[in-house]
């Protein structure tokens, strides 16, 4: 499928999750997006799925302690400066679950975008704001590049007999990873300029025409937003 309608469909589903009012509707969208993500190879999708579910779970766990809504207290704790009295109500739990599902849906939509879309064709399809789309595509590529750099660092250290373990060991990789990605960004931008990037009069390779699937996906994206806003 052409990446533009696919991206529109994913954006529509993410928007629907943000607009919907019922946890069941958002859960359904999550299941749909998860099914889409499962089409990616297992090794690649693992990190994205773990990230999506962990961030959703974090919202579910934290929300009841930072919100003060509802009157059906399930647990009452001490008073903490700034946060006030800690308590958990059934309304807070429901809202935490709802917000957690929303975040999970958006993260899954991004995961599907990063894992399954042809970002090259997406950039080439951009009829306007090509620079912005290219920046998004390069930023998307940053995730697997960082992943590769991180495994390169771990492997280089293992090659010296140094095992990277625990949070502290992994934290030590953050600074070289950042420095490495800045160096890479400099080199890449130099290479792009040398290949004419930013010059007036750029053209684009012809794109294959859209078929029925592409039109349906685009319509599905729009429909998801409308359904999310009005009925879900």
């Amino acid at each position: 499928m052409s990446p533009v309608p696919a991206a529109a469909l994913l954006a529509g589903l993410a928007a629907a999750a943000l607009l919907a009012d019922h946890s069941a509707s958002v859960a359904l969208i999550c299941v749909l997006l998860l099914a889409i993500c499962l089409r990616a190879p297992a090794e690649r999708r693992r990190m994205y799925l773990v990230g999506a579910f962990l961030s959703g779970l974090a919202v579910v766990l934290v929300t009841p302690f930072v919100e003060t809504i509802g009157s059906h207290a399930l647990w009452t704790g001490p008073t903490v400066p700034v946060l006030g009295r800690l308590d958990v109500t059934s309304e807070e739990l429901r809202n935490g679950l709802f917000q957690g599902l929303r975040l999970t849906a958006v993260a899954l939509a991004f995961a599907a975008y990063a894992l399954l879309l042809d970002h090259d064709r997406l950039v080439q399809s951009a009829g306007f704001a090509r620079r912005s789309v290219l920046a998004i595509a390069l930023a998307t590529r940053l995730v697997p590049t960082l992943e590769r750099d991180a495994s390169g660092l771990v492997e280089a250290l293992r090659g010296r007999g140094v095992e990277v373990t625990g949070l502290r060991g992994r934290a030590r990789l953050l600074s070289p990873l950042l420095a490495g990605s800045l160096e890479r960004a400099m080199n890449l931008s130099e290479a792009m300029e040398a290949r004419g990037y930013g010059r007036r009069g750029a053209t684009r390779a012809p794109r294959p025409p859209w078929g029925t699937v592409e039109r349906l996906a685009l319509a599905g994206g729009v429909l998801a937003v409308v359904l999310g806003a009005l009925w879900l």
């Binding site: 070289p176 040398a194 010059r199 053209t203 390779a205 012809p206």
Partner: protein, 448 residues
């Protein structure tokens, strides 16, 4: 009429000593010029000046004049020179914009305004020219270093530039691939300026040699004259691969091993060899034939799918492009990582690779050559029983290569050393014998 003219060019990067000092020369249509010189002599800076990237991209103090095809590089941006000038940089991984090969090769064509109906055919033709037509549908992340370098070369050749600038274009290519790439550049009809650390790969194909030292052109001569005047280390050397019998107590034995990164595709099949104590063994083979994978298996960084790898004692592995994988804030701390923070040992190891006095420097403040030596010290310090080096001469000039050879030979008696390399001249000098991987269609017969 000259295609490019460099007049009294001096340049210093911001806050640095001059990288180029009063450089003058002309480039004539169709000639192939080889740029030689030690690491840090200003070769890459000079190439960047020809592409307009110096001073536009890097800033710094620029004096003199560079003119390419009648365009003054001070007033013409590098993106406007693209197409007239095509530049292939040293590290292919740092110049790839897209995830797919076809889109990558098309990128420059789109930028310079090639008519849309011609983009696909020119991209396909360029890929075919470099022998990479089969890579068209692949993702760049799946390619080996050599394959990626071919794709980058295709991206530049697709632009049909009048001035082709190649910064160590063969550093990741096997000898056949390197010869083909140089021949391809030569036959493109463009004026070619190629910087290279392996003179034997380019001197036969060039018309003229420029030799740089400390930012100055100290030799500018036709090839035949240059061969009489070049420093000895820079003269082409014959590769005479040694083929001694395996010797010494086996420190690493790879026995009937197969391995694949994906479930349905094997990178290595039925592969066996051993490395004995006191031996330096060169692991040779074409790009994509699994040399790095085999080296990682030998070092214990990967586990074989079938077969066995046995080792005696500690193994250390130095990856390709090791300067990229430094984690500490100081050079001595980087080296000390492998010896539980023993800074005294780390400093001795730094001195062994010629980095005495660099102990407190931040690894990322070092030049690329210095980083490579730092990374070498970081594995040598552990005094491993098995030392595995993956392409240790990539981007290393001949003089440093001779030093590395001496170091490995001097320390080789107490350990087993496996060196993965495409540099047959280096392999001839450093190794006692070689084993070779073969390319995919012949893989059943794997090793020599």
């Amino acid at each position: 009429m000259a295609l490019a003219r460099v007049e009294r060019l001096s340049f210093a990067y911001p806050g640095s000593e001059p990288a180029l000092r009063g450089v003058s020369f002309e480039l004539w249509p169709g000639e192939v010029v080889v740029l030689l010189g030690p690491s840090g002599s200003g070769k890459s800076t000079l190439l960047r000046a020809l592409a307009g990237l110096v001073p536009h991209f890097h800033g710094g103090h620029f004096s003199g004049r560079v003119e390419v095809a009648g365009l003054d590089t001070r007033t013409t941006r590098p993106s406007d020179l693209a197409g007239t000038v095509g530049t292939l940089f040293q590290d292919p991984e740092d110049q790839v914009v897209f995830t797919g090969v076809e889109a990558e090769v098309s990128f420059g064509l789109e930028n310079i305004g090639t008519p849309p109906e011609k983009i696909e055919s020119r991209a396909a033709a360029a890929l075919a020219e470099v022998g990479a037509a089969g890579l068209a549908g692949r993702k760049v992340a799946e390619l080996s270093g050599g394959e990626l370098q071919r794709v980058c070369l295709a991206s530049v050749l697709a632009l049909e530039p009048r001035l082709l600038i190649l910064d160590e274009p063969t550093s990741q290519l096997d000898p056949d691939g390197a010869a083909a790439a140089i021949e391809l550049a030569r036959s493109s009809g463009a004026t070619v300026v190629v910087s290279e650390q392996r003179p034997e790969r380019v001197l036969d194909a060039c018309d003229r040699v420029l030799f740089l030292e400390n930012g100055r052109v100290v030799l500018d001569a036709p090839r035949a004259d240059a061969l009489d005047q070049l420093p000895e280390a820079w003269l082409p050397r014959e590769a005479d691969l040694p083929d001694a019998e395996p010797a010494g107590e086996p420190v690493c034995r790879v026995d009937d091993v197969s391995f694949g990164y994906e479930q349905d595709r094997l990178v290595l099949q039925s592969t066996s060899f051993e490395v004995g104590r006191g031996e330096v063994v060169a692991l040779l083979g074409p790009n994509g034939s699994g040399k790095t994978t085999l080296a990682k298996l030998a070092a214990g960084l990967l586990e074989p799918r079938t077969g066995r790898v046995t080792r005696v004692g500690r193994a250390c592995y130095l990856s390709q492009d090791p300067g990229r994988y430094l984690v500490a804030e100081r050079a001595d701390e980087e080296v000390a990582l492998a010896v539980d923070g023993d800074l005294a040992r780390a400093r001795r190891a730094l001195a062994e690779v010629g980095l005495a006095g660099f102990e407190e420097r931040h690894p990322r403040d070092l030049s690329s050559g210095e980083r490579e030596r730092l990374a070498l010290a970081a594995v040598l310090v552990a005094e491993p029983e098995l030392l595995v080096l993956d392409e240790p001469t990539r981007g290393v000039d001949p003089e440093r290569k001779d030093e590395l050879t001496s170091l490995l030979r001097a320390q080789g008696s107490g350990r087993a050393t496996l060196v993965v390399t495409n540099d047959h001249v280096f392999a001839s000098a450093v190794a006692d014998r070689f084993v070779a991987t073969v390319s995919e269609p012949e893989r059943e017969v794997s090793l020599a």
